[in-house]
């Protein structure tokens, strides 16, 4: 588990505070998994994999603090350290209707999942992507290229797609579903919790991605353990199914900081 040196091969500006960085390395990852990205002298943090074609893998990053600010100054050819891939992945199933619910950079791992499943027989995708306003909507262009995928954009202010929340669209789709869909979601925890509640209401299968503070990423530090099961989200997550999510008491209520103190949502 030593960091592997990886070179930046491409950078895409998604919006003023989000960029996708591609690294030339055959990561052998599955959608939903994450890597620990290290910039020497700065920090090392977990990031979901947003693409992996066997030659390059991508990370879609929201500029937030010291590590991501430094990352945003890097150029093609610069290097970083990567460990992983770690964690569980989303189910990849043929002959299934998927409903994806994405908020913020959650659109990235779900678009990776879409590219993997769209090639399978009988797969159709409703992709619900939400943002506060039009300029913050991520990945619309890339999603348009994926076959058997229908985009449902929502914005809080109505500047693109439908005015409202992703869960409004989800409820309509679940209400009218003819076959049993698989709902997969990635985004802010309170949004994911609302998605879970709807899936419970309509008895729909569901997979969520749970973010917790991570020090190691491989099941040693215990920083990412959830109440009351004590399972680590770097090993038994980040992707969990509906049954497991329903047993994670703290989901949507609180998470823990670097010291281990509870922070309420």
């Amino acid at each position: 588990m030593l960091p592997k040196t990886v070179k930046i091969s491409k950078i895409i500006d998604e919006n003023p505070s989000v960029k996708t960085f591609y690294f030339s390395h055959n990561l052998k990852s599955k959608p939903g998994q994450f890597v620990m990205l290290w910039l020497p002298d700065i920090d090392q943090k977990p990031f979901s994999i947003s693409s992996d074609d066997g030659e390059n893998f991508g990370l879609t990053v929201f500029k937030r603090g010291p590590l991501t600010e430094k990352l945003f100054t890097l150029k093609v050819g610069d290097r970083a350290g990567s460990t992983g891939p770690f964690g569980t992945c989303y189910s990849i199933l043929p002959n299934r209707h998927y409903i994806m619910v994405a908020g913020g950079y959650g659109a990235a791992p779900l678009s990776f999942l879409s590219t993997k499943i769209c090639e399978l027989p009988g797969v159709t995708i409703d992709f619900i992507v939400g943002a506060r306003s039009k300029d913050l909507l991520l990945f619309e262009d890339r999603l348009k290229l994926i076959p058997h995928l229908k985009i449902h954009a929502t914005t809080d202010d109505g500047s693109a797609g439908r005015k409202g929340r992703v869960t409004d669209v989800l409820e309509e789709l679940l209400k009218n579903a003819t076959s049993k869909p698989l709902v997969v979601t990635c985004g802010p925890e309170l949004m994911e919790k609302a998605v879970l509640d709807l899936c419970n209401k309509y008895d729909s299968d569901c997979e969520l991605s749970i973010e917790r503070q991570m020090k190691c990423g491989f099941g040693i530090c215990g920083q990412c353990a959830v109440d009351d099961l004590g399972l680590c989200m770097c090993i038994d997550g980040p992707v969990v199914n509906r049954a497991l999510a329903n047993r994670i008491f703290e989901l949507g209520k609180y998470h823990r900081d670097k010291a281990g103190n509870k922070i309420n949502y």
């Binding site: 588990m1 620990m36 020497p40 020090k215 040693i220 090993i235 281990g260």
Partner: protein
């Protein structure tokens, strides 16, 4: 066969989760009991909350594990509900690990933590990774060990265990000092100082630069420490360091340990390492016709 009595408390098996591994929350500690250990140790707890060092805080290879977490913990006030949570989920014994920057502060944390349902206090005076903040670990000085042991003992309502460092060349002297000052048991050992360099970036891998070595590379070092301490003191020992298999654990008991601490094995054999080690111990005992661990405790000393 594996039931072990340690300071009048019964452990269903002698394997205890070592401090700092999967021990941030009460639920996580209880989950490790489900995974087979006979008892657990909390991550070391201080008076005030600490976020710890920046990442990378740890790394591992097939041969060794290296960490400098920087003693992150939520502070004693917030640790109390986690211990209560453990108690509500599990009946296994729990050791509360504490640390501080001064002898008086050690006493304060000990007094505070005794308000929760703990079975023992482990006094961590041997972390090699916070030297910049706290200076040389107390575990290198008999004077410091005596002072800290006395004050913690006077403030505690449960037996106290002093955790020693393999960096101290004369660890048996340190154990004797702790015993003389009133310690009820010894944990040996904490990690030994080390460093690893990423040759592409030309930087130490850990953000703290230096860290503590644990895992397989630590086993022979830990065995020697436990062997020497067993020959020098009467109080029981928790033998910790590099145990990843049942055979390693048996060796630790033959060196003189009563309980066996296991941490980094969770990296090598996942969190199910505890049940695996316990099963391997039982299998060895059956093959060798050993009826109880008391039969082989310290066996390596008779010649």
């Amino acid at each position: 066969m594996l039931h072990t009595t340690f300071l009048n408390k019964t452990f269903s098996n002698p394997i205890v989760l070592a401090s700092g591994i999967l021990g941030v929350t009460g639920a996580s500690l209880a989950h490790m009991v489900e995974n087979g250990c006979g008892g657990v140790t909390t991550k070391s707890i201080s008076l005030e909350p600490r976020p710890g060092h920046k990442n990378p805080t740890m790394m591992g290879t097939d041969d060794y594990f290296l960490n400098a977490v920087g003693l992150s913990n939520p502070g004693v006030a917030n640790a109390l509900p986690e211990i209560a949570k453990f108690h509500s989920l599990s009946t296994a014994p729990i050791i509360a690990s504490i640390f501080a920057g001064t002898a008086d502060e050690f006493g304060e944390v000990a007094e505070h933590i005794c308000a929760s349902p703990i079975d023992f206090i482990e006094v961590n005076i041997s972390c090699p990774n916070v030297g910049k903040e706290f200076g040389t670990p107390f575990a290198y000085s008999t004077t410091a060990i005596e002072a800290i042991t006395k004050i913690v003992k006077s403030k505690s309502t449960v037996p106290i265990i002093i955790k020693l460092s393999p960096n101290a060349w004369n660890i048996a002297e340190m154990a004797k000092a702790a015993e003389a000052a009133g310690a009820d048991a010894i944990t040996a050992v904490n990690t030994i100082s080390g460093l690893m360099i990423d040759i592409e970036s030309r930087r130490p891998i850990l953000a703290n630069k230096q860290g503590g070595v644990s895992g397989p590379a630590l086993l022979p070092i830990a065995l020697k420490c436990v062997y020497d301490i067993y020959a020098s003191v009467k109080i029981p020992i928790i033998g910790t360091g590099g145990v990843t298999t049942g055979r390693d654990a048996i060796a630790m008991i033959m060196a003189g340990a009563t309980l066996v601490g296991v941490g980094s094995a969770a990296y090598y054999r996942e969190k199910t390492c505890f049940a695996k080690i316990v099963a391997e111990m039982a299998e060895f005992m059956q093959t060798e016709n050993i009826k109880s661990l008391a039969e082989i405790r310290g066996a390596a000393h008779t010649n």
